[in-house]
């Protein structure tokens, strides 16, 4: 699997098929003496904005905090919770 081609920016649904968002970011875990491993995917406007332009991400984060929406954002889904990657990325939630 190619992460950027097959995972990043894909839409994410829960096990009932409800849209949760898109894969806005991928979290890699660095391991000494072993190749990095995908730990999780992240969903949320702030991480997406950070990818576009880091100051925009910080600004978006500030907005989320100001609006009291910072809890549960970004939504981080462990890689092990991914059930299927086809047209959507299906996650166990």
């Amino acid at each position: 699997m190619k992460l950027v081609r097959d995972l990043l920016d894909k839409s994410v649904v829960d096990r009932h098929g409800h849209e949760l968002g898109r894969v806005d970011s991928i979290v890699l875990e660095m391991r000494p003496g072993a190749p990095p491993r995908v730990a999780a995917i992240e969903l949320g406007p702030a991480v997406l904005a950070h990818r576009v332009w880091p100051p925009l991400g910080r600004w978006m984060k500030g907005l989320e905090v100001a609006l009291g929406m910072a809890e549960e954002r970004p939504l981080r889904v462990p890689f092990a919770a991914i059930v299927d990657i086809d047209r959507h990325v299906k996650v166990e939630r």
Binding site: S11, E19, L43, R51, R87
Partner: protein
């Protein structure tokens, strides 16, 4: 059988939904200043639109993804962010211009200043968006919009010589005001090939659950609907050329454009023009607002759809509401709707290459369109359109300043 009904409905709605502020103002200006000479630009822009609409529908029908969703997935946010921002800005400004156009139409009917009508119109638009499903919005607007066929009736009754019309379908150089001519040719393209139409059409295809087997319905609807719609735009141009041109009436407001109906419709002229303009603009405003909701929801991966209960798609509903509010605020500030239309049309041309380029990739990627990839003809057309689009994008701003 249902496919045939879908087909007829689709073609009829394309005719009724074709004309709005952009096409009325650019065609009316072209006709009054250059006679039939720019008819080729209307035809060519129609052909470009038909091909892009067909591809948007094919992409959505096979991949079950809207255009904005597919671009995000295939190209990522870095490619998408600038064209996306530009498209949203054009959507908002055009929505303000359409609301202004509809309000001017009511002013022509009632005599009461157009700014008074913008907020009530906004409320009606929002109620339609909140309560109606996709089919009702699409077909309702399309059927009401058949009133715009009065432009074709007008042109027909004025009796243009068919040889003159046929000659004007071949591009020729102007004898005067070359910059203005070039500006209008580019503007007609920008007014016709609106980005919102493509994403709206692809989203509609997903909402209506078109299947791969019904792709022929998409092809016929796209070409036939756009062809008939283009005839309505040509009706505006021809009426304007015959009525306004010889009297040296320049279209710098909708009041003047309304005069093109006088010889054919007499004392009903202004009312009929106003109703055609009003319905055309109102329909486009509803579609623009809905499309901004679509685009934002699709890019961020939120649930979307006019066929869903709005409460189960809260972000989508919030998105079209906020966009509508911003556009209404701009319209209330009282910018001249006609001038705002011309600015939108210019901006559309600037983002044209970024709009066309993704088609070249998506329509050849079997992950998205399976066996229904583009042939060499359509790919050649897209490549040509990307190059011509890039050239037009380079010249449109200087042209807008010098010829606009």
């Amino acid at each position: 059988m249902s496919a045939i009904v879908d087909l007829i409905l689709g073609v009829v709605t394309s005719i009724g939904g074709f004309v709005e502020v952009g096409s009325i103002s650019t065609s009316a200006q072209a006709g009054s200043e250059f006679g039939y000479q720019l008819l080729w630009a209307v035809g060519l822009a129609g052909l470009m639109l038909a091909m892009l609409v067909e591809m948007s529908g094919r992409l959505a029908g096979v991949s079950k993804r809207s255009l904005a969703g597919a671009v995000r997935e295939r190209f990522g946010i870095h490619f998408q962010v600038l064209p996306l921002a530009a498209e949203l800005i054009v959507d908002v400004l055009l929505l303000a211009a359409e609301a202004g156009g509809a309000a001017i139409a009511i002013r022509l009917l009632t005599g009461i200043g157009f700014q008074w009508w913008i907020l009530p119109l906004g409320v009606v638009i929002w109620i339609v968006l909140w309560t109606c499903g996709f089919g009702l919005i699409e077909y309702g607007i399309g059927l009401l919009g058949l009133i715009t066929l009065s432009f074709v009736v007008s042109a027909w009754q004025l009796g243009p010589r068919s040889a003159d019309l046929a000659r004007s379908l071949i591009p020729t150089l102007p004898t005067h005001h070359a910059l203005r001519y070039a500006f209008l040719a580019v503007s007609i393209t920008g007014a016709t090939v609106s980005p919102y139409l493509l994403n709206f059409y692809s989203s509609g295809t997903v909402e209506e659950k078109l299947t791969e087997k019904e792709l022929w319905v998409n092809t016929v609807t796209a070409y036939l609907g756009t062809a008939f719609g283009t005839v309505v735009s040509m009706g505006v141009l021809v009426s304007s050329a015959i009525v306004l041109g010889p009297r040296h009436i320049q279209v710098d407001s909708y009041d003047q454009a309304a005069l093109m109906f006088v010889p054919v419709f007499g004392r009903w002229a202004v009312a009929l023009f106003a109703v055609s303009l009003g319905i055309g603009c109102f329909g486009a405003a509803v579609e623009l607002a809905l499309n901004s909701g679509y685009v934002l929801a699709q890019v961020f991966g939120w649930p979307w759809g006019a066929n869903r209960p709005r409460r189960s798609a809260t972000q989508f509903s919030a998105a079209f509401t906020v966009v509508l509010l911003i556009a209404l605020a701009i319209a209330v500030l009282g910018f001249d709707p006609l001038r705002m239309t011309m600015i939108c049309v210019g901006l559309t041309v600037v983002i044209m290459p970024a709009l066309v380029l993704p088609f070249l990739v998506l329509m050849n990627d079997e992950k998205y369109v399976k066996g229904h990839t583009n042939g060499p003809l359509r790919n050649g057309f897209l490549a040509l359109l990307t190059i011509v689009g890039a050239l037009m994008a380079l010249v449109v701003v200087p042209l807008e300043i010098l010829g606009g």
